[in-house]
Amino acid sequence: MKISYKWLREYVNTKVRPNLLAHWLTMAGHEVSSVKQKAGDFIFDIDVTPNRPDCLSHLGIAREISAITDKPFKAPRKKRLRTQGQKQDFRIIRDDENGCPFYTARVLRGVKVGPSPLWLVRRLNAVGLQSINNVVDITNFVLFETGQPLHVFDMDRLSGDEIIIRPAKIDEQLVTIDGTQRTLNPGVIVIGDRHKVYAIAGIIGGADSAISPSTKNVLLESACFDPVRIRRSSLALGLSTDSSYRFERGADSHNTIYASDRAACLMKDIAKAHVGAFFSSGKQASVRAKIILRVAYLNKILGTAIRPAQARQILVRLGYKAQGGCILEVSAPSYRQDTWREADLIEEVARIYGYERIAAVAPSIVITSPDDNTRDLAAKHDMAKDALMANGFNEVISYSLIGRDMIKDMPWDEDDCITVKNPQSKEQEIMRPSLIPGIIKTAAYNISRQLYDVRLFELSHAYVRAQNNYLEENRLAIALYLKPRIEKKTAPEDSFFRLKGVILCLMDTLGVKEFKFENTMSQLFDEHYCMAAISGSLILGCFGRLRGNIARAYGITGAVYAGEINFDQVCALAQPRRGYKPLPRFPYACRDISFAVSTSVEYQQIAALARRIGGPIVENIELLNEYRGKQIEQGYRGLAIRIVFRSREKTLTEEEINSADASIRTGIKASFGVILR
């Protein structure tokens, strides 16, 4: 809101430089975003907070300055207005009582519509308004002076002797003074009669009843309208005016008559109006109960030593009535609809006293240590993230809201997702049921930017519909895309095993022991290239090579490997590490076995058998390589494994090792028909 420095000084006698005054206003809660010099004046642009409609005027700001600078505040005095001419039969009917709690109208006769005097034009120009004619200018002037929006009707354009404040009829039409044809709805409050509409209450007037050069008689409206209704109407009409801006923040019913009188005086002086009858309908807000302000409590909350007299003086300057000492009895003025309680008064005193003057004091120690569960979960989050980052995976954060198209052809049905009532775009329609769509989108984004080593993870919430409830589950998604440039010497399936290895490493880091990998089927991943991590009957997660149709839908041409695990379930299985395994005291020995085996036999079966036959001296079994190709019979593949032998009790003898090695060879030959090479 624009405020003129010169204009302000009519109401408060301050010699403070405009820039310093702007700073003081900012530090009292009225942020001055700019001070511009204009025609010998300084124009402040002030961001008035929504709780302070009383400051949307020069008088309001002047009152604040009076308190900040501790200088007297003087509002234009209320003049007695003598009603001229005969009484007239005129009625105000408030059909919409909630929409309009208080309405006043004053008749002004014999108005001479013409140009405004120079001083008035200057005032309006200062706050960015153009002069229209003296009658309209006066209403605008009073609005910027008192904060009360006024409206003037050409009385002779009204059809009868009554005004009805009512909800608009469905699809009621009005051409407003800006020349726009507007369609109204019953939420909108209108001023009219049974058949016609003259104005949209609190927002804009109609063109037909607007003041014209030929206007003789004027009806001056000064009223209060329901802030919520005005805001909704303003939004619905897509129209915000100086008037609606104030009404939607709340107008002071006691200010209505003052502003009406002020405007009438000016009309009399400037437009030679004969001041006629005054009508009002409804009730002004009743006088509020006194607020008790305990100065000791104020000082406790603020951490200050403000004296009662200081507190009282601040309140009085702001227009409050305050009596007493350590316990102040305070009456709030009607324009302060935001101060009802002791806490509100504490803020009043604090902001005028100055936040800057309150010393910073360390609090007497309040230490909160989170409970075991919270701490444990946070630690596991960190461990998991560290493990993934150590493996070269980068954390990403993707949107929790996604578009329906993102789960197309995926295993989630949009009917099972939690949907958003009021999405602003198609990309925000559903709460993601999984992190997979997001991480694939992120992978696609990076791949399309020529990145050839894309390793991503996200640890965050998925939103899951349960039976008749919902869950926010912690999930961990990973995605991997390596272009051959990096993997030149290895088979592309390597990415699959890298992903598997990362999950293994993660489980190990978290201390999850009770789980295994099993082949599975998924709508997301290619057959065979898909595995689940399973614990008992619980599926912890699933990973694999993304199906071509899904990858293509995301614009990816290469092979992307991805997976997701239920992090909450994994954490529940994680066992805290206690103690340590003694380090081996004796040396190990290895034996490598190379063989050809039918492609129908899985590595896992062979390894398990070898371990069983070898017994406790088998410390580890490693896969050295896999070979498929021309040198191997059709339907077979070559495998080379290394068996690591070690005993906890002694150094193994050559014979013991050879004998174990021989049994393993015989065993796998007998069980799987392998051809030893």
Partner: protein, 346 residues
Amino acid sequence: MEHRLKEIETLALSEIEAAFTPQGLEAVRAKYLSRKGVFAVLYKELAACGAQDRPVLGQRLNGLKFVVEEALKKKAAALSSGSRPACREMFDATMPGICPPIGKGHLITKIIGDICGIFSRMGFGVVEGPEIENEFNNFEALNIPPDHPSREAFDTFYLNTENFESNKQTRRLLRSHTSPMQIRYMLKHKPPFSIVVPGKVFRPDATDASHSFMFHQVEGLMVGDNISFANLKWVLFEFVRQCFGSSAKVRFRPHFFPFTEPSAEVDVSCIICQGRGCRVCSQSGWLEILGSGMVDPNVFRAVDIDPDKFSGLAFGMGVERIAMLKHGIDDIRFFYENDLRFLGQF
């Protein structure tokens, strides 16, 4: 002549330096010092020279020969002293180092970690809350009345849960700030306590360089029997000092928030222009970084804490904003595009 000698010197010394085997070195020696070598020719030319120049040139030539001989001796010694210099011929240490692929945490996660770390050291506990909230926690209990503008659908995402949830009364929404966790925590815990709550929040804004419908906040709450505005100032001064450095100036400006009274907006002297005024701080020299205040008595009443016995301080800040200010990032969308070339920089 002098110019030629200079050239010969440079050439000879570089050839000696470049020799990596004794054989190679011998070839260089022969080229310069053999009977038909470069120096032999030079001495012949010297003899043909005028008597006037001869002494000076002779001295110069002798000097040069000495330098070359010494260089040859030194190199010969180096070549015979072990295998390392010989190896140098095959090993090129200037080839690039091999960097392991390093994964990085997201900048937002890091900033949240930094912020929570600072408050943890002051004794605050870090707790988290759900993103799907109800109107009581997100609005009512926080003293945001039903007709408050921020309750309009435009400022909050509402969810369709009535079709499946057994609880049909509660309207579910995505929290529009982290403050509802104040309510959840206070309903379950008795003061004194001090917590910080990091997390995602959602507001239906059209996405552009400075708006995102999803972003992150860190909320703080400290409640005790004698917590004051002076304490609030201390806690946030300390935070700003640790987050932005000791040279950052701080100011507390009165503002309006429904859930605090008195309320203060906290500004930091612009870290781009050091308070002189620039585009980022719209010439004011100050940057708004967080909202704060003393817990409103109505909030305490909503969670059944006696506002006469206890007082509290609360604050909330936008993580993206702090990240953007600290790193001069001018587009909030960078955080959610997750371009690895961007994320890798932090």
